[in-house]
């Protein structure tokens, strides 16, 4: 099996530690807050406030379940517009109280359904991209599993973007890529390789800034192996970003995303 397909398989494993587990490992006193104040509470997005070694932080993540029952509650980690709007509400709250924001990303993509369209899935994602790009407080985005397209990007406009070793991030799934571009769903592995969706490739083209090793025996058997590294990185990065002049912080975030694109003139 190719490395890319191996990572795709691992990223999607139902046993893979989810956002709530990462929150438990990394933060203390987490208080979950619900609802977008407009329509509903989306179980696919978990967010609230917590303490990171004494520093108040806002945490927002996309939640997947380990069982069918859990997955029905969090819609298999596929957020609806109200989920993205809840995330934005909590990020704006973090801005007001000048708390750093940590986002945890793990989704095959934003939900595709009638209600999602009626309530403006596109508008919700678009608004997050714009507002995150100018949020006046630091944002650290961490890909802990799958990163599917716009639905993942909507939480990933960070000052720094991190990824676990077997995380993935792509414009569409390798299955979608093979069936749309080649009309041949048997070429999934080839698509996964071509799409450069693994942490190593993404680090190379600067889509992610840091990659964190996972344990040999599997993250589900030894989560602290990876969260220990994450904790150390947060310990270093949070004060660094918090001390930065606001103007510089926003300029650097702008430049981080401004640079993407390959073209000739």
């Amino acid at each position: 099996m190719s490395d890319a397909m191996k990572s795709v398989g691992i990223a999607r494993m139902i046993e893979r530690p989810n956002t709530k587990q990462f929150i438990r490992e990394l933060f203390k006193d987490f208080m979950e807050f619900h609802g977008d104040r407009l329509f509903a509470d989306d179980g696919a997005i978990v967010g609230g406030i917590a303490s990171f070694e004494g520093t108040p932080v806002t945490v927002v993540g996309i939640q997947k379940g380990h069982t069918l029952e859990e997955n029905l509650k969090c819609n298999f980690g596929a957020p609806n517009p109200e989920g993205y709007r809840k995330a934005l509400r909590l990020m704006k709250q973090a801005e007001k109280f000048h708390r750093p924001v940590i986002t945890l990303i793990n989704t095959a993509g934003a939900f595709c359904g009638i209600g999602a369209e009626e309530r403006g899935q596109g508008e919700a994602i678009a608004k997050n991209l714009l507002e995150m790009s100018r949020l006046k407080t630091p944002i650290i985005s961490i890909f802990i599993g799958e990163g599917g397209s716009g639905g993942a990007l909507a939480l990933a406009v960070g000052d720094t973007v991190w990824m676990l070793e077997h995380g993935m991030y792509s414009v569409l799934s390798p299955e979608g890529f093979a069936s749309i571009l080649w009309r041949d769903s048997s070429r999934v592995a080839e698509a996964a390789d071509l799409m450069k969706m693994t942490s190593g490739h993404l680090l190379e083209n600067h889509v992610v800034d840091r990659v964190f090793k996972e344990p040999e025996e599997g993250l589900e058997h030894n989560l602290s192996y990876t969260t220990d590294q994450l904790r150390e990185a947060l310990r270093e990065t949070i004060p660094e970003l918090m001390e930065m002049e606001q103007k510089e912080l926003l300029q650097k975030r702008y430049e981080r995303f401004r640079k993407f694109g390959e073209y000739a003139e």
Binding site: F111, G113, A116, A126, L130, R134, G150, V207, G261
Partner: protein
């Protein structure tokens, strides 16, 4: 006059499309039984081609056929006011996608433009504006590096020169052949629009058929004012994907402009013949006092 999205830019010649292409063509693209007559795929009427004016409307049912950027400039901007930006920017191949160069060459030939968007500045009813016009004839208006870069530069130009920007959107979504770099364009354009917004400047989106995927989840939905052409397909997810997810039939008129208006995501649906007037009025009403007669 690129009604049929083939041959050279200004050609109105009939052409023979394969049956496969006919099946894949969307409703708002007319079919061409022969050189003199076209068939409207909305009302099925056979129309004498000369009856179709520069507005590219079905004379029978007023369906808005898809337009090229050159045609759009013709019916939108004051004569000879357009100055193009970045006309020669072309795609590279960030993912080493096999035959991407060939795919690009074909798209250039089909559309007559070098990439999926034309940007520049011009005047509407005497008012200066920056403008970006996407082209669905170019790889379904998909957004890759060039589209993202040209639109971002246009927005940055507008911010720097304190000008409004009008973007005509039409897109099937991300340029999949450019992989993750195409996704990053959504963030890039959105952050540039954030700065234009902070500067207190006007951004108008005109949604045209179809506006879906990554473009709908970024700059299409960020206008201060969002206009749409009638019956344009506007939505985040493709209808086939939605059907595959929920295993239900979709309601009549789902994701059309009228649906988006009803659900609160579009300010006004504007008939194409009235668009220049409406844009002119919007620009005038956002102009500082004293420039009313510009």
């Amino acid at each position: 006059m690129n009604l049929f999205g083939k041959k050279s830019y200004y050609s109105l010649d009939g052409n023979e499309r394969s049956k496969k292409n006919d099946r894949r063509r969307a409703k708002s693209e007319p079919s061409i039984p022969d050189g003199m007559w076209i068939k409207c795929n909305t009302c099925k009427a056979i129309i004498y081609k000369k009856e179709v004016t520069e507005y590219k409307l079905c004379p029978n049912c007023h369906a808005h056929f898809r337009m090229s950027p050159a045609e759009r400039i013709g019916i939108t901007l004051d004569e000879d006011s357009f100055q193009e930006f970045d006309a020669n920017m072309v795609a590279k191949n960030p993912m080493d996608y096999p035959d991407y160069e060939e795919v690009i060459r074909k798209a250039q030939k089909k559309s007559g433009i070098k990439e999926g968007v034309v940007t520049g500045r011009g005047k509407i009813r005497g008012f200066d504006t920056v403008i970006a016009i996407m082209d669905s004839h170019y790889m379904m208006g998909s957004m890759g590096s060039v589209v993202g870069e040209k639109v971002t530069r246009a927005v940055e130009y507008a911010t720097e020169h304190r000008l409004p920007i009008i973007i005509f959107t039409t897109s099937g979504g991300a340029r999949m052949q450019e992989g993750i770099i195409s996704l990053m364009q959504m963030a890039k354009v959105s952050e540039a629009l954030g700065r234009h917004d902070e500067a207190g400047l006007l951004y108008v989106t005109v949604l045209t058929d179809p506006t879906t995927g990554g473009v709908s989840a970024s700059f299409a939905m960020l206008g201060d004012i969002i206009l749409s052409e009638p019956k344009a397909l506007i939505g985040f997810a493709g209808q086939r994907v939605i059907k595959g997810t929920i295993h239900q039939d979709l309601p009549e008129g789902f994701q059309r402009a009228e649906f988006q208006l009803e659900h609160g995501f579009v300010d006004r649906i504007v008939h194409r013949e009235k668009l220049r007037d409406e844009l002119g009025r919007i620009l005038r009403l956002h102009c500082p006092q004293g420039r009313e007669e510009a």
